[in-house]
Each structure stands twice: as C-alpha cells, then as structure tokens.
C-alpha cells in the first residue's frame, strides 16, 4: 500500500514503529495530488511548501519521541476555515484574496495535535450548495466518476479523502454538507452535536446549524479526529463545556441489544432503488451485530427541507452582511457613492446561489413576513427536534439513507435549485435538531458509485454513535474499493 492511501491510525502505527516519517507521508500525498488533482480539483489552494516545512518539524518531534495524535498526518481544510497566512476564500469571488489574520480554533487544535495542512479544499460558495458547483473556482469532480459531482458543500474535502489527496479532512455541515458528500464519495463524514466543536473561525453560513466535523477513511480515524476537534472554546458562546471522553476507547465495544429505529418517513417514495437496496443490506449488518430493529415515526420529517430553506437563508442573509466591501473583500472600483459600494461589490462578489439565499432570507425576515416565515419555521423546527427527543427515549440509534440518490452529473441540477435542495432531505434534520450524525459507506450501485448510510444519535452521544458505527463497519465489511481517477 502506498502511504497516501493509508488511514491515520495505520500511519501513526508506522511512525511509532519507525516505519515511515512525516516527510515521506507528506511527499506521498503531494505526489498523489500531482497525479489526480488536475482531474478531481479538490483543492482551491495547496500548501505544499508549508506542509513540507511542517513535516520536517514533525520529524524532529518524532525523533524525540514526541508523537501527538495527528503527528505527520496530512489534513485538508475546507476553505471556509480561517487560516493565517493563506487565503480563506469560501469559494467566493468576494473573498478571493482575503487572508485571515487569525486561525480558526479547530485549525489551532489540529496544528497543536501535530496535523500537517495539505491545503484548502473546494466548497460551494459560502457553503451554499450540495454539489460544489457554486464555487467561483469551478466544481470539484467525484473521484469515482469525474463527470459527476462529489456532493457539497464540503465536496472538496470529501473528494480529497476519497482520492487519497490527503489522509483526512475537515468540513462543515449546515444541512448535510459533510455527510452528503461523504456518502457520494464513499468516505466517512461526521457531523457532531451542535456546540461540541467550536465554530470560532468558521465563516458562518447559518450560525444555528453550522457544525465542523471530520471526513475520514474509516470510523477509527473519525474518532481520532473528534478527539482533537471536540471541546469547549471560550471564543464561541454556543460551544458547550462538556467532558470529552476518548472516543477511540468506545470502538470495538459490543452493540448487541441496542435498539435501532428506522423512521418510515425516510423510506418513502423518491429514493433511488439502488440506494434503498444498499441501506437494506446495512440494516441486516446491524442486525448481525445483535442490535434490534424497530420501525419508528418522525412525523414532522416532511417539513425539514421547508424549514431549512427558511432558517438557513435567513441567518445567511444576516451573516453575509459583513461582506460589504468596506473593510475587506471585493470592493467595486467604479462605485460612486456608498449605495453603489454596497450594491456593486455584492453584485460582483456573490454568485447566483448566494444571492438567491440572501434574497429569500431577507424576505423571510422582513416586516409583515417574519412571523409567517421565519417565526413559523422556528416553531416547526422545535417540533422536528421533539420528534427526535421522543424517538431517542426508546432508540439508541436512528438509521436512514444519507442521500436519496448516488452522485449526480455535473450540471444536472444547477438549473433546478429545489431538486438540489432535496439532495439534503435526509441530512437536514440532524442540523435542525442539533444531534450528531455520521454517514458511512454501505455499498455501491451497479455503476460503481458509493452509497452511504446515516446513523443518528441523541445530543452529545458521539461516543455511542462512533461505537455503533465501528461495529457496523466491522460487521458490514463493505468491500474496500478505490476510485480509479
């Protein structure tokens, strides 16, 4: 096996055994990038020089026996995470040349854990999209079929992990932006409980929904990444001070007797037959582990997309107001007065999807409409959340498909935003209710496209969620295929 295709824990074992070095791993990753990146376009910016310098320092640490959880591990960062020194573009013309003077909390944590940053990955503009096509830098391609989208908005991160252009990656998930691309690219995508991982330094899309999480090659790597990412941060008021266990310790533990809920609303019409077949097999694997299966109902499921389509744009319309061309970002040169600075800069700086959401969001908050739209959506959001509270009183885990279809063709849904929004129909509920969720590969379509299954757990139950996912991973033993790019 080549180094770039190994997992975090495999590489760490090798490093500990003196079998490889940070420099060798990093070089291998960049060699792989050199080979496949022109076809995949997972990255907005590569950080080769910085990475090799970091790797050299890591090797010094290794020689001293100072090996941290991510020492020598090449990690890719979604370009929505602020990084000092290299641009943080959010896939937008607006911030094309913007360099943050500070690092996001998770970037600091990853660096402190020894991670080596490979580059900034492509994303839908300000994370608004499900295909990475709204990036101003052009779409990322799915390594399994480069005519197809990798999902989004963390499509760059998912594709980079799938194509072995990094060992692990970090993304952000507002309505499925980690899990949906993970599912379409055949990797693990983990969205933690809202408040478990600091959002400080994550450029906000919808503040009450955004959460940072890892994309990895297996569950153990997800646990290793979560050990680093999770934890209280005084700079994020929504970050909860809670005891963080060593998630890795829960892996390999038995899940027999656990009750797994299958919400019937997630298996209604409209989901691809091959996806349903793969998920059905996943259910069988879960049963093999000794877990019990029960059908449940999450009655407000049908409102999830609608609620999301009000709340996320409403918050986004306000969050993006700071992109006004005054202090940073694109400023229209030909503007003659203040109003023109605003309108021209924002007209030039934002793409169509971002504008669409700002307009919808501003509308749903405006006088006379706020109660009917934003107000009502907030109320229904509470109902959706209660559905889960109710379900988790009984169930340990809820199992659903991650996406209704496998990866679709580039350009297929660009002209049909509603169709695009529906690709997140199974993932949105976890954001609305704040619960943790993971997408994990569970099979392939006949055409060889990966399919993912989603597991959800109660708030702050990530240890049990990872325990369950690891048991499933072992039991299902989904054939490990590699995309041929």
């Amino acid at each position: 096996m080549e180094l770039h295709s190994l997992t975090i824990h495999e590489l760490q074992d090798m490093i500990r055994a003196g079998g490889t070095t940070a420099t060798r791993i990093t070089e291998a990753v960049f060699q792989r990038i050199g080979a496949v990146e022109p076809k995949v376009h997972a990255y907005i910016r590569l950080m080769k020089e910085e990475a090799l310098a970091q790797a050299a320092l890591a090797d010094e640490d290794i020689k001293r026996g100072d090996i941290k959880p991510l020492t020598g591990i090449g990690v890719a960062l979604k370009d929505l995470l602020c990084t000092r020194g290299v641009p943080t573009t959010c896939g937008s013309r607006m911030l094309q040349n913007y360099i943050s003077p500070y690092d996001a909390t998770v970037v600091e944590k990853l660096a402190a854990a020894g991670a080596i940053f490979i580059g900034k990955t492509n994303t839908d503009e300000f994370a608004m999209g499900s295909s990475t096509e709204t990036s101003c830098f052009g779409p990322t391609r799915n390594p399994w079929d480069t005519d197809r989208i990798p999902g989004g908005s963390s499509g760059g991160s998912a594709a980079a992990v799938a194509a072995d252009e990094c060992i692990a990656a970090v993304g952000s998930d507002t309505g499925g932006s980690i899990r949906q691309p993970a599912s379409l690219c055949g990797v693990i995508g983990f969205k933690p409980t809202y408040g478990l991982v600091s959002r400080f330094g994550l450029v906000a899309f919808a503040s009450s929904l955004d959460q940072i999480g890892p994309l990895t090659k297996d569950v153990e790597d997800a646990a290793i990444m979560m050990n680093v990412l999770a934890g209280y941060d005084p700079r994020d008021a929504t970050c909860v001070a809670t005891q963080i266990p060593d998630y890795r310790k829960f892996l390999g533990r038995d899940i027999s007797g656990w009750l797994v809920g299958i919400p019937k609303e997630y298996f209604a019409e409209g989901t691809d037959r091959e996806v349903l077949d793969a998920v059905e097999k996943a259910v069988q694997s879960v049963e093999k582990c000794g877990a019990r299966i029960t059908e449940i109902s999450l009655p407000h499921t049908k409102y999830c997309v609608a609620v999301y389509c009000i709340i996320a744009p409403a918050e986004a319309s306000s969050n993006l107001a700071r992109m006004d061309g005054i202090r940073y970002g694109l400023r229209a040169k030909e503007a003659r007065d203040l109003a023109e600075v605003y309108t021209k800069s924002r007209t030039d700086g934002f793409g169509a999807e971002v504008k669409r959401r700002i307009i919808i969001g501003a509308y749903s908050l405006s006088a006379g409409y706020r109660d009917a739209y934003y107000g009502k959506a907030s109320q229904v959001r509470t109902l959706i959340s209660r559905d889960f509270d109710e379900a988790f009183r009984e169930c340990d885990i809820i199992l659903t498909p991650t996406t209704p279809t496998p990866a679709f063709k580039i350009g297929e849904k660009v002209e049909n935003p509603l169709q695009m929004y529906l690709s997140d129909m199974f993932t949105i509920s976890a954001n609305l209710s704040g619960i943790p969720a993971i997408s994990i590969p569970c099979g392939y379509t006949h055409a060889g496209l990966p399919v993912g299954v989603q597991f959800l757990a109660g708030r702050f139950e990530e240890a049990r969620l990872l325990q369950f996912a690891a048991a499933f991973e072992k039991s299902a033993a989904v054939e490990k295929r590699r995309p041929v790019v």
């Binding site: 959010c90 943050s100 400080f200 503040s207 929504t238 319309s317 700071r322 005054i326 202090r327």
Partner: protein, 477 residues
C-alpha cells in the same frame, strides 16, 4: 385649541466596562483610530461574539435603580442594516425579550413629584464612527467605539413638557453616574438622547402623530429642540394641517429641526434572535447579588442627609451631587459627629481645593480622619478657625494629619494664661501712650492691643483668652 404635549425619550448610555460587550478590546476613548479592535469588533469572517457579563451587571444596576422587572430569559437579537460604521451589517441588540421592563423614576416638577414610566431597558453594542474628509472627498471609519456596551432606556410617553423631559433626562443622568456605570459625558457621546414628540387636544387619550428628534447632544439642545418642535407641531395643527410621522434632525446652529427621513423610508431592521449567543439566564440569586451592591440613590440620600444630619436641603443637594463626595462627607461625619460643621468644610475648602485640581473626592489627599480630627481640634480650641484654613491647605498638599502639621509648624494655640498674661504685660508696658489714651476713653484701642499680643505670639494666642485677659489687665490697673 388647547394642546397637550406628549414626549417620550430614548436614552443611550455607554457602560463603563473596561472591555467591549462582545470582545476583549478596551473601551478607552480618544485612542488612535482602529487601535482598539480585533477580529470580533472588526467583524472579520468567522469571528464570534462572547458576552461580557460585567456589561449585563451594569445594565441590571440601572434596571434595579429604576424599579424595572428584570427578565429571567434575556435574548439578544440582530438588528440588520447596512452602514459603514456597523461592521457586521447588524447591531446585536435586544428585541422581544429585553433585559428589563416596567420601571419608573420620580422627577420633581412644580407641583411635587411625578412618576415617569420606563418602558424597557435593553442592552446593545455601539457602532463605530465615520470621519468625513470634505477636502479629499473621502470618508474614514474608526471602529474603536464599535462594540462598546450600551443600554437603551426607553421612557413611556409620560413627559408633558420640554422642561419635564430635561428634568427626567437629568435624573437618569444622575442615577447612571451615581451607579458608576456611565460617565455621563454627552460631548463624547457616552450619554445620548432621541425624543419622540407629539401633541394632542387636551383631554384626548389617544396619541397624536409623532416625530422623532435626533442629534440632541446636550441638555440645552434637548430643551431647545423640543420647544421648537412643540411650537412647529402646534402651528401645523392650528392651521388644520397634519404632522407627518418622520425622523427630524436638530440643527443647533440654525435652531430648528429638519426632516431626515419619513415613515415611508423607515427602515426594516429584520430582527431575529442572535444565533451566536445563547440566552442569558438572570436568576434570582444574580439579581439579589447585584441588588446588594446597589448604592443608595441620590434622591434617597438627599432626603436622608436632611433628616439624619439636620443639614439644609441645599447642602444635602451639593453634597450628594457626587457619590464619592457624599461618601467622603459621611465618613467625616461618622468620625466627628459634627454634620453642619463638616458640611461647611467639605463644601468650602475641600471642594475648592479639589476643584482647583480637577480631582475627585475619592482621591482627596485630606483623609476624612484628618478633617474630622481638625474639626474637633477647632472645637477644643487647640487651633483657631483661621489657623485651620492654613492647616487644611497643608493637609491637602502633604496628605499629613493635622496634629503632625500643627506640631511641625508650632501652630498650637497658646492657651496658657500665665504665658499670655506676661505677653499682655509686656505689650502694655511697651505702649504707655496708647494705654493712657485707652484709659482716657478711646475704647477703640482695645483692638490695637489684641493685635500687638497676636503679633508677639505669632498669631498663636487663643483669641478669646486674649480678649478676656486683656480686659482684665486694662481694667485692673
């Protein structure tokens, strides 16, 4: 037609916290532009606000001092609008669940005290400042002030005249300063006021159409602008015209208000709960703790000074005009139990010396112990009132207690009768001509002899004793 004036005020007060409301930047005034900023108050991408709990406590103090009910659930909201001094494109403020509601303060008007209702007090952040360079046709933004904590105090439309409005405003100002949560500086903008004014036919209960006045930068502006606006509205109504609901700007130079924007142009702020901040829960225990730290308020203190110390209302007013001065005065009284004499000294020499140096009573070099001691020394006749004037200057310059200064300067009064008798004898002997004239009936020369005794003793002789002994000596022989 007889019209009734209806005024409501919205007051913005900057809170005197050391750091801003949502980040750790200093709130200092007058620093180089943009030197007190960070990713949070510059609204850089990815930065998040974290609430300064001190600001909440300061706001709670004002809420309690004005008898408001503090909401247990405090929710911040985003008030969205674009302006270059507002870096996030929204102001973090409060909307449906403000800090406190339903209070009042008492103001004194001609016919006694009137209750002025407080609708609500809420917390928010200040915006930055724009600096316009006309010559270079450029505008600059200084964000040092962006994120400085503010409270907005909204009155009920209970004010019936411009004078009452100013009175109310001064009372709020006094309370804020007394609580030491706002420096009250109107020029620097730490205390600002907008006014809503309307007229209605006397006896009518519904409100007339109002205008909102802005740019009221001093008590005088408030009074003049309101008077102007009341007259303007009355004239319109008397002509049978309508008052347009609009925002008007006070122009002090021209002495008039001018239309800024009409109702049609009114902004839609698209309020919604701030998702970056969790609701602040203010429980009973927290309220009780803040309440316990609340100082006695100026009005109550004035009344107590009159009743407990028996000093005139005027003195009580002067002494309580500044919280630290009142504390100082009370310390002195506690130590010497001479309220009126203490009041005279504090209002006289102490305040004069402090004012000369623009110093506050809290760092007065004359310790209350020293002033109390001196008051007792005067009473005991150890020092004369005249000597005391000199001693207090010394106490102020050196910070030393009076006994020490008296000892160093040999300023103790001579009260030894034998010593004074000898001095008097010497004076009479040295001035035989004057003595003869006095005895011949020139009574006015008595003063001359006193003066001579004083001169010989360097002014230290106890004047009363000199009088007694001199009379005895003059009439004895």
């Amino acid at each position: 037609m007889d019209f009734e004036t209806v005024i409501g005020l919205e007051v913005h007060a900057q809170l005197l916290t050391c750091t801003k409301i949502f980040c750790g930047c200093s709130t200092a005034f007058g620093r180089p532009p943009n030197s007190l900023t960070c990713p949070v108050c510059l609204a850089l991408p990815g930065a998040l606000p974290v609430l300064n709990r001190k600001a909440v406590e300061f706001a709670m103090k004002m809420a309690l001092a004005t008898g408001c009910r503090i909401n247990e659930q405090n929710v911040f909201a985003r008030k969205n609008y674009f302006y270059p001094d507002l870096p996030k494109g929204y102001q973090i403020s409060q909307d449906t669940l403000p800090l406190a509601e339903g209070g009042h303060i008492l103001i004194e008007v001609q016919d006694g005290n009137t209750k002025i209702g407080i609708e609500r007090i809420h917390m928010e952040e200040d915006a930055g400042k724009l600096i316009h360079d006309e010559a270079n046709r450029a505008s600059y933004v200084d964000l040092n002030r962006a994120g400085v904590p503010l409270i907005e105090i909204v009155s009920k439309p209970d004010l019936r005249s411009p004078a009452a409005a100013v009175h109310y405003l001064k009372s709020l100002h006094e309370i804020l300063v007394y609580l030491e949560i706002c420096d009250g500086n109107m020029e620097e903008g730490s205390f600002r006021c907008d006014a809503n004014v309307s007229l209605r036919p006397r006896g009518q209960s519904t409100l007339g159409r109002r205008t909102e006045l802005k740019n009221l930068n001093s008590f005088r502006h408030v009074q003049r602008a309101l008077e102007y606006e009341v007259t303007r509205q009355r004239r319109l109504l008397e002509k049978g015209l309508e008052v347009e609901q609009e925002t008007r700007l006070w122009d002090e130079a021209q002495g008039m208000t001018m239309s800024m924007r009409s109702k049609g142009e009114a902004r839609d702020y698209r309020y919604f709960p701030e998702p970056d901040l969790v609701p602040v829960v203010i429980d009973e225990a927290w309220v009780a703790k803040v309440r316990a730290d609340l100082p006695e308020l100026p009005q109550a203190r004035r009344e107590r000074f009159v009743s407990a110390y028996g000093i005139p209302a005027y003195d009580a007013g002067v002494l309580t005009s500044d919280r630290r001065l009142a504390d100082y005065y009370e310390d002195v009284v506690r130590l010497c139990d001479r309220p009126k004499i203490a009041a005279n000294w504090v209002m006289g020499d102490v305040m004069r010396l402090l004012n000369e140096d623009r110093r506050g009573a809290h760092d007065c070099p004359v310790m209350p112990e020293s002033l109390a001691e001196m008051i007792l020394l005067i009473e005991e006749g150890v020092v004369s009132g005249k000597m005391a004037k000199e001693i207090i200057e010394q106490m102020y310059r050196t910070g030393r207690p009076p006994a020490q200064i008296i000892a160093e300067k040999g300023m103790v009064q001579i009260t030894d009768e034998g010593e004074l008798d000898a001095t008097i004898a010497a004076v009479l002997e040295a001035n035989p001509r004057q003595l003869a004239e006095y005895r011949g009936g020139r009574d006015k020369l008595f003063g001359y002899f006193v003066g001579q005794v004083m001169k010989l003793t360097g002014g230290k002789a106890n004047p009363k004793l000199v009088n007694d002994l001199l009379k005895k000596a003059l009439h004895h022989d």
